[in-house]
Amino acid sequence: MKGRALLTLGGLLVGLVVLAALVSLVWTPYDVAALDVGQRLLPFSAAHPLGTDQFGRDMVSMLIVGARTSLAVSLLAVGAAMLVGIPIGLAAAARPGPLDEVLMRSGDVVFAFPSLLTAILLAAILGPGASNAVLAIAIFNVPVFARVARGGARGLWSRDFIAAARLAAKGDARISLEHILPNIAALIVVQATIQFSLALIAEAGLSYVGLGVQPPAPSWGRMLSDAQTLAGTAPRLAILPGLAILLAVLGFTLLGDGLRDRLDRRGARA
């Protein structure tokens, strides 16, 4: 089946990136903090399978440590957005009327700004660094999760089992946690996967313009940016991190699409 193959491919790519990031926590082929100008710009070899960069750092090590940076920033940003956005969406769905309007229109205001440009602006104002990158990316994901949660929850609120819960004198908050949230979890997981791939791109973009993780911590976006001046002599320095970003984003997108298809089918059967 085609959908299944794509889901598997997405899972494999994501697994590869996550594995690389985890391995980098305990072991890297070479120390990425150690510069060795004598070893600079080496081509592919047995000692350095993907060669070395302009400071003599091993590219394999750089890429797997970069995976850690990208994943950590995206995970924190998406996680923070979910923590804020989902309760907002649940509250809006539970109380149609003024509260719903205020919350959702505020979300629309955030949507009105071009996200990456505003993230760059924010990072520029707050100063570069990983935590500000997380904050800037998270802000634009909050209304996404609020909307998804509200949309799923609104449909459930009209169901009879919610009326039954209300007859048991359960309050809005308790119903939202006990009945609504578990039933929209699948929806949220799918959205989280897709937002994660967008967060990866945003992180790479912020790092590219120098507003993400600061040197010497490696990051795919900054590797790309650093490689610009050497694009003529060593194009692989730009191609390799670009390829890493591409495969990671592709992996998460395929995973999200595949999960959505599978969960939709389950939803249709229930």
Partner: protein
């Protein structure tokens, strides 16, 4: 001359046999009723006739149209027949119409598919067809969109599309199931007038009374087989097969109820001095919470008192001069302990709003709902929790009324949070098992998930959930409407038995008068937010006082009436 002849039709999906050895014939100008419960294969049979079966269906047998075999599998040839010779009307008119096209354009499209006419002429023909189905352009312009029409009008449009190509055979699959009875009567009248013009009608329905009133011949299906067929009067008047007999029995089934003191079933008399029903003993007396430690009030046997209830839904447009929709207007009635009261009315009559107010799921703008003499309308917090213990509900949709992720134990135990002090896990489990057994299920069912149960079992689970806190009043919202007749009879018996054993009072909301006749002591008839008539069920049914009640009764298909008149 036979128009449609189906011989030894069989349809299977893998190992599952949907239809086996089905044979039927239909003459022009006649109506053949195909009846059966869900899963009997009646809809599959209709799809086979129009060759719209799913691709994985394996089929056998022959279908002859005018003596010529149906060109099964030949899409081009079938398309010429579909709409041209065979028309089809489905159950749900909203989903059968294209919401983005005007009704005139949809009918004109159907006209153009079967006749070589220009756009203008097609529109003119479409207008004529719409007029034929009772939607004259002066009243309902063809430029309307489906969402601007009522359910009955939409079904008329669907019929217009089906007859636009001038079919000689019309297949109608539950054409009126989604409609109110008065609309059902109108649509059936329209279909009969088309039959009078020479069209043949294959009427598929679960409703024996409807088929008895409208069909010439009948085929009774069970598990994909025709168990009995022949002229309607013979088959339903003197059924030969056990299944047909059982179906008729279940349909006419009236649960036996003991007379409760003070309720006077069938008389509707107020009757004083009834034994306090709270003392009706249960299997577990300690389970029973004293629901009235309050001083006695006037009219002690009155459990629920609804007075001058008013609910207006605000207009969607804040700038509109109109005051919004009046859903409830000056509704007043009482329910006594142990009494079963029915509320009938068509969609939009306010019965659901009334029910939500009684359950305190919605706040009315005027009037009061008192339970045991205490107002549920103004109660908040702990007072409302205490009142909720005494009124629980069973909802219509046996598929939507449980959280699909919770096991039955958790589903049924949900109202237990109302108890004070709360019960422990072991006690909770014990009560769930006892309540499940009380409604005819097994203790072991507590560990299963809702999707593992049939519709009838689900309604039993829903009743168990309502009963676990031992309320004095259970509100049932169309609780048996979605069930097959054989399952329905079982649920009605259970409700009657529970009312006898536990002294429960029921407030039964339904559009189905036959259910009301079987289970209620008193009947309220609602129209446009008002209670237009109330009285003892038997009296209201025998001698309706309000013209609306009379029209409802006249429009409701009645098996005995259909079989006795000529």
């Amino acid at each position: 001359m036979t128009l449609l002849s189906v011989e030894n039709l069989s349809v299977g999906y893998g190992d599952h046999t949907a239809i086996a050895e089905l044979s039927l014939t239909l003459e022009p100008g006649k109506v053949l009723g195909l009846v059966g419960e869900s899963g009997s294969g009646k809809s599959t049979a209709s799809l086979a006739v129009i060759d719209l079966l799913p691709e994985n269906a394996a089929r056998g047998g022959t279908i002859l149209l005018d003596g010529v075999p149906l060109p099964v599998g030949d899409e081009a040839a079938m398309n010429a027949l579909r709409g041209g010779t065979i028309g089809m009307v489905f159950q749900e008119p909203m989903t059968a119409l294209n919401p983005m096209m005007t009704i005139g354009a949809q009918v004109a499209e159907a006209v153009q598919l079967h006749r070589r006419v220009g756009r203008r002429e097609a529109r003119a023909l479409a207008a004529a067809v719409l007029e034929r189905v009772g939607l004259p352009a002066a009243a309902i312009p063809p430029t309307r969109y489906p969402h601007e029409l009522s359910g009955g009008q939409r079904q008329r449009v669907a019929i217009a599309i089906a007859i636009a190509g001038g079919p000689r055979l019309l297949i109608a699959d539950e054409p009126t199931t989604a409609l109110d009875v008065t609309l059902q009567a109108q649509i059936m009248q329209l279909l009969r007038s088309l039959v009078a013009e020479g069209m043949a009608l294959l009427l598929i329905s679960h409703d024996l009374a409807l088929v008895a009133e409208n069909a010439d011949a009948i085929v009774v299906m069970k598990d994909g087989r025709a168990v009995e067929s022949g002229p309607v009067r013979e088959v339903l008047g003197a059924p030969q097969h056990g299944y047909t007999r059982r179906l008729l029995e279940r349909m006419r089934h009236v649960p036996v109820r003991k007379l409760l003191p003070g309720t006077g079933r069938g008389t509707g008399a107020a009757g004083g001095g009834g034994a306090p029903q709270t003392t009706v003993s249960l299997a577990e007396p300690h389970l029973h919470h004293p629901s009235d430690g309050l001083p006695p009030r006037a009219g002690e046997d009155v459990l629920l008192e609804v007075s001058s209830l008013r609910r207006v839904y605000p207009s969607r447009n804040p700038f509109s001069a109109k005051g919004g929709k009046i859903a409830l207007d000056d509704a007043s009635f009482v329910v006594r302990r142990g009494e079963s009261v029915g509320v009938v009315g068509e969609s939009g009559s306010g019965k659901t709003t009334l029910l939500r107010a009684v359950l305190a799921l919605d706040r009315p703008q005027g009037g009061d709902v008192r339970l045991n003499g205490r107002s549920i309308t103004s109660a908040r917090g702990a007072a409302l929790r205490a009142l909720r213990r005494d009124v629980q509900a069973v909802f219509q949709d046996p598929y939507g009324s449980f959280d699909p992720r919770h096991r039955i134990e958790r589903v049924v135990a949900e109202p237990l949070v109302l108890l004070d002090p709360p019960v422990g896990a072991a006690e909770r489990r014990r009560r769930v098992e006892a309540t499940l057994e009380k409604v005819g299920l097994q203790a072991g069912h507590a560990d299963r998930f809702p999707h593992e149960f049939s519709g009838g079992q689900r309604q039993r689970i829903a009743i168990a959930r309502a009963l676990i806190v031992e309320p004095a009043l259970v509100v049932l919202d169309e609780a048996v409407s979605a069930l097959d007749v054989s399952v329905r009879a079982g649920i009605l018996d259970l409700l009657a038995d529970l009312s006898d054993r536990l002294g429960l009072a029921f407030l039964f909301v339904s559009h189905d008068l036959s259910v009301m006749r079987a289970i209620t002591d008193r009947l309220l008839v609602m129209q446009a937010g008002r209670i237009v008539e109330q009285g003892a069920t038997a009296e209201v049914m025998a001698a309706p006082q309000h013209p609306y009640t009379a029209s409802l009764l006249a429009a409701t298909p009645d098996l005995e009436r259909a079989l006795s008149t000529t």
